[in-house]
């Protein structure tokens, strides 16, 4: 390609947008912007909550509280072995010899005489 032709082509390319029409965005831009703002506001509320919970000042005490509650619930649900076994043995021996029943019957009969 000769120099003049090349220069002309380059110049035409540089000026190719001179007579261009402006492009237009799709219709109802305002409606779409408002819809997007509503969507971002809704998402923003959840982001605020999670950001608040993620603060170390809130997160650590909350975690400690949950762990303490768990520990307390587990501790209170497990029976104390030493006390309950002793109680069980005394109950068994009382039932075997029917001590409580005999005593009460004897008392009743004695009282009737």
């Amino acid at each position: 390609m000769d120099k003049n032709k090349l220069d002309k082509l380059v110049e035409e390319t540089i000026n190719s947008m001179d007579a261009a029409d402006p492009a237009m965005p799709a219709p109802f831009l305002l409606t779409r912007i408002k819809a997007r703002m509503d969507l971002e506001n809704a998402a923003g509320a959840w982001e605020k909550v999670s950001a608040f919970l993620a603060k170390p000042l809130v997160a650590f005490p909350a975690l400690t509280l949950v762990l303490a509650l768990n520990f307390w619930i587990i501790k209170s649900s497990v029976p104390d072995n030493s006390v309950s076994n002793a109680a069980d043995y005394s109950k068994v021996s009382t039932d075997d010899y029917s001590l409580s029943t005999a005593t009460s019957l004897f008392d009743i009969e004695t009282a009737q005489r």
């Binding site: 390609m1 090349l6 082509l9 380059v10 035409e12 390319t13 540089i14 190719s16 947008m17 001179d18 007579a19 261009a20 029409d21 402006p22 492009a23 237009m24 965005p25 799709a26 831009l29 305002l30 779409r32 912007i33 997007r36 703002m37 971002e40």
Partner: protein
């Protein structure tokens, strides 16, 4: 409603002017974003983001600049941020780089919807060449040559001197000529 009325209403804290701002500036915002990102869907997305930012900062607007200049700045920042994000995504990730197809690195031809039919091909070549310019030269050239803004307004938008804008555009044109010459000579 003209620029002065819009500015006055915004300064009085009247956010009801927002629909007027969208109506008046949508074409300007969309075209600027389109010239920078060279993709209609992305430009549309950026346009929405720009107006959301305008709405959120409406009460903080001071008359240090014209409303148009302020909105132009937001648009340019958003569009350039978008481009940087896109480049980072494209170049980021070792695995992605290893498995990516080489052909993807060549920019896709962008056909501006407003370009005249007989100039469509040349306009596509121009936009492709513009991508190869340094960011500030590309910006100055786009605002002056494609958006048709005077040097003074380009200087206000880019927050630089008139002389700097003239120099940027002159250097941009020289670089463009070189890129285009190489392109046409290699495509013979």
């Amino acid at each position: 409603m003209n620029q002065a009325d819009l500015t006055a209403k915004i300064q009085n804290g009247d956010t009801s002017v927002f629909p007027d701002i969208v109506e008046q500036c949508q074409q300007m915002v969309y075209n600027t974003a389109l010239s920078i990102v060279q993709n209609e869907a992305d430009a549309e997305d950026i346009t929405q983001e720009v107006f959301i930012e305008v709405y959120e900062n409406l009460t903080e607007f001071r008359q240090e600049a014209q409303v148009n200049t302020w909105i132009y700045r937001i648009t340019i920042n958003k569009a350039l941020d978008f481009e940087k994000r896109k480049k980072r995504q494209k170049h980021g990730g070792l695995l992605k780089r290893i498995f990516s197809v080489r052909a993807e690195e060549e920019p896709i031809n962008f056909n501006h919807p407003g370009a005249q039919l007989d100039n469509k091909e040349k306009a596509a070549v121009l936009f492709r060449a513009l991508k190869k310019l340094p960011e500030n030269q590309q910006l100055a050239f786009t605002l002056h040559k494609i958006e048709g803004l005077p040097y003074k307004e380009v200087a206000a938008i880019m927050e630089t001197s008139l002389y700097a804008v003239e120099s940027l555009i002159a250097r941009g044109k020289t670089s463009l000529k070189k890129i285009l010459e190489d392109y046409y000579q290699s495509s013979e």
